[in-house]
Amino acid sequence: MNYADLFRVTLPETALEIAALLVLIVDLGFLRKLALKVRVAVAALLGVTGCGAALWAIYAVYPSTMDLVPLDIGVQLNMFTVVPQTGILVLTAVSLLLFIDSDFTCNVGEYAAVVLMAAAGGLLVASAHDLLVIFIGLELLSLGLYILTAFAKKSGKSAEAALKYYLFGGMSAAFLLFGFSYLYGLSGSTNIYEIQRTITISGSSPLFIVAWILVVAGLGFKVAVVPFHLWAPDTYEGAPAPAAAFIASVSKVASFALLLTLSLAWFMPNWMVEGDKVTLGRYFQSLYQTWPPLAIILLVVAVASMILGNLAALAQVSVRRLLAYSAIAHAGYILLGIAVMPSLSVFEGNGFSYHIVWMLARRSAAAVLYYILTYGLTTIGAFGVVSVVERATGSDRLDSFLGLHKRNPLLASVLGVLFLSLAGIPPLVGFWAKFNLFAAVLGVSAGPVPFALVALAVAMSAVSLYYYLQVLKRAYVMPAVDETPIKAHPVTLAVLVAIAAAVVVLGCFPALLQGWIESFYPR
């Protein structure tokens, strides 16, 4: 191992950690006596600067670290990590900007520092390919999230949500670690490419499936898919709004990036050039043996999430819980994209070369990333709107949105754009994300099963429109009970409008983001 390489590869994380320390020093050392508003603003701005620095670090470094063979260093910084890492940093910055308006805590330095450290954990998760590093990154991220959930010390709900989140999280971490220990036991290595190579050569064993189930349980908790979703509604409801926005977006991006890394490892032909004299036929044979059981486990979880998430959301009266269940449903769609990797088609036609398989796998990955990034952005905006309404009315119930179009027309139109985008109405970005994802699913794998799955997903997203419309109906249609205007902090409003504008622009010109992502996942 070369420590200079390691330092270069982890430069973005380092930048974030330095920013976290700086925030603490500045806030605790110099700003202690100043007004809360000033401290919040300074902390948030420092945090955003830190994200900017980390972003710069990524783009400065990755061209030189791209070709590092990721075998002996536990992390990598290459084409495949740039997109999720950029997403994590941008979303972190946006959620910090939404923090500017908050008054739920007076420990602002600590809040910003924890956010930045959690984001560093997210970066690590998105770039790791060694089980130990993965686990450390996940714990760094998760511990940060538990603290953030509990940050509103005056709110009983916040404490309750944090405890639930923490207990579930601890258990899922145990599952994950247990699964990792099996993987290590089976292969004698903690490097995922090494593991894949060993398992490909020695053949799959039932224990391997058990290990994968345990891993899926652990990661399924992070991304909140059925049946590991129970923490999500409570946490989304109890956590302070900026923290909830962070949990709903950044941690999702990081966890899905990890799932992608784990899944892509099975399709990555890297190891073939590594000296093992494994033939192409063996490659396909191993895929045939190892991938489908893994895919089926993911599919079961995905289908259950789509159905249960959407149906449960129908019955919610709290908008935050509604967003939580809709997040579960969205996680189901995304998992569909990961689960239907080129597996099925490979075995039908034998004329596939591994280049095509690998190309299709990258296509799925690009579609999944597009979805999760745009979803993260939209959902942060949705939480921003909810928090403004909540502070004005004291509750996040559906009825507190009554007459929003009169109380704050701009906020109402932002809400309209974001929720319609979540529902997948063109020309907003949510529609394009869905179309792209489903087209990728069908494009990489033909046959009745993918068709049926996509049909189910489309039908379920038609169902989802009902509950999104329930919110919009209150904002636009039903008569207002209280017509006093709702005031929002100018920065919050500006951020929300910018998010809505991005949702519209990216939806009208999908090729912008699509092209950028695909430049890292070339066809």
């Binding site: 139109s413 319609l420 109405i425 063109p426 020309p427 529609f431 179309f435 792209n436 489903f438 087209a439 069908l442 494009g443 033909a446 068709f451 996509v454 049909a455 489309v458 039908a459 997203s461 038609a462 429109l465 009902y466 419309l469 109906k473 636009y476 249609v477 039903m478 999908p510 090729a511 699509q514 092209g515 695909e518 066809r523």
Partner: protein
């Protein structure tokens, strides 16, 4: 130039949404100017396109890596329907002249809906078509839910759910067709020439066709239509019946039939005389014709009569499509434009001219009101519209329905026979409604003798203009159908020949 109908409508919607509140007159005039400009562009495009085939208006790569193009084009069918949309839009604005609540938002949603409709008729890329199709659905919900009447929230949600269920089916078909054709392009022409396998077309055709036909009011998925029409504010019901239902029928033709022609082939076996998807949908269409007419006959609410008559008339469109012959499909397109005008006129009379003055739509109450004497203009207009609606020669409906019936007779005579029954019942329910609403000979009560009838508000100029416009166009098309037929026939011929013109 035709493409500007879309841009202009969306720009108008944006401007109106940003307009300061409390200036209803400005909003109205702005909306009127925008729709008239749209109509002018449509007329210009129609005249310029006479005798020509498909004209590409704009073709830009939209998502190059997936072969999606921003491709707007117009053939004869598109030009006729764009013209219809322009007309309906202008008339709709005229009949919403009395909207006082949130006027600027009303017209913003209205123009957004119109823009989506123009977009669907002009898209020759399936993805783009779908985008516009969905854009047209959302404003409908808000138009009905905010400005509607009777059970408006229920009706609006029902309509939204039906529409999105339909468009979900279309989206599945779109994704499936795109993937099956090799994920190269979503252009309608490219997909038509992609040689989609017959087995695929066999399941994708009914899916897509049903998805679109839900919006066209096909029995038994029609129930959103009467409730939606009744709850909607006048302009919205004019648009719903006038153009939005045509979106569905247009989709059935342009996407369902043109893209999956083999999906209409016989199955190879038959069950009680039904041996293909074509038979299935034709039977549903015929049932819709007769059922809609019979239910209209039994209604006590004036607007429900018109609502169910729309289901019946749209049945003719679907039947015409299923004849799969030149004359039948031409008739279907004619019926689309004809019904768009006539239904708009009927809804305007019932929902605006009569209801806003009497505040009731119950036929039993209207019977006692002597409307033929108190509102002679409304009575006269309804007689004209009723005559047009039952398909009397001289009006556009006659040409259209005759062609559909001839086409159906060529395809399968019994379809034409049953549909003919629907026409007869159509005469009955129109006459019944007309008689009850306007010409009932109940005697005035003693009170009314003493005091006279309470005054009805005078008929306003937008109403007269709107009625004149719609009735005039229906009459003109009825007397000189060649003007539309010349545009429609070559386009239908090209479409049937297995390609797009």
């Amino acid at each position: 130039m035709l493409a500007w109908t879309i841009y202009l409508s969306f720009a108008g919607a944006l401007v109106l949404a940003l307009l300061p509140k409390g200036k209803p007159a400005l909003a109205r005039w702005l909306a009127l100017v925008m729709t008239i400009a749209g109509l002018a562009l449509a007329v210009q495009g129609f005249i310029a396109g006479m005798g020509q085939g498909r004209i590409v208006l704009i073709d830009l790569p939209w998502v190059p890596s997936m072969g999606i193009h921003f491709l707007l084009a117009a053939d004869g069918i598109s030009r006729v329907l764009v013209l219809l949309t322009g007309l309906a839009a202008v008339a709709g604005v005229l009949f919403s002249w009395n909207i006082e609540l949130r006027t600027n938002e009303f017209f913003a949603f209205y123009l957004a809906l119109i823009g989506g409709v123009y977009g669907v008729f002009l898209s020759f890329d399936l993805f783009l078509l779908f985008v516009f199709y969905e854009i047209a659905i959302v404003p409908k919900y808000f138009l009905i839910a905010i400005w509607g009447s009777t059970r408006r929230e229920y009706a609006a949600m029902k309509l939204a759910i039906y529409s999105f269920a339909g468009s979900a089916m279309v989206l599945i078909g779109l994704l499936a067709a795109y993937a099956t054709a090799g994920s190269h392009s979503t252009g309608l022409i490219e997909l038509t020439h992609a040689n989609l396998p017959v087995s695929f077309q066999m399941w994708c055709f009914p899916l897509v066709f049903t998805g679109f036909a839900i919006l066209a009011g096909m029995w038994p998925f029609h129930t959103w239509a009467p409730t939606g029409h009744v709850a909607a504010p006048t302009a919205a019901s004019m648009l719903l019946a006038g153009v939005v239902m045509k979106l569905g029928a247009y989709g059935c033709l342009r996407v369902g039939i043109a893209l999956f022609p083999r999906g209409l082939d016989p199955w190879g076996f038959s069950f009680i005389g039904i041996g293909s998807w074509r038979d299935v949908f034709a039977v549903l269409a015929v049932i819709g014709i007769v059922y809609g007419a019979l239910v209209a006959l039994a209604q006590t609410d004036f607007k429900f009569v018109i609502g169910y008559s729309s289901v019946s008339h749209m049945g003719f469109v679907l039947l015409g499509l299923m004849t799969l012959n030149q004359i039948g499909i031409t008739g279907a397109v004619m019926q689309m434009s004809s019904h768009g005008i006539i239904a708009g006129l009927l809804f305007a009379i019932v929902g605006r001219i009569v209801y806003d003055r009497t505040h009731t739509r119950q036929l039993a109450e209207l019977e006692t009101m002597h409307l033929s004497k108190r509102l002679p203009f409304a009575a006269g207009a309804f007689v004209v519209a009723g005559i047009a609606s039952i398909g009397m020669p001289g009006f556009s409906g006659f040409v259209a329905e005759l062609q559909v019936l001839v086409g159906a007779w060529i395809a399968k005579p019994w379809w034409a026979l049953v549909a003919g029954v629907g026409i007869v019942v159509g005469v009955a329910y129109t006459w019944r409604a007309m008689q009850k609403a306007f010409f009932a000979d109940t005697l005035p009560t003693p009170d009314e003798h003493r005091t006279g009838w309470p005054k009805c508000a005078a008929i306003t100029w937008p109403e007269i203009t709107g009625v004149g416009l719609l009735a005039g166009v229906s009459l003109f098309v009825g007397l000189y159908p060649k003007i539309l037929l010349d545009a429609i026939e070559p386009a239908v011929k090209a479409l049937l020949a297995g390609g797009v013109q």
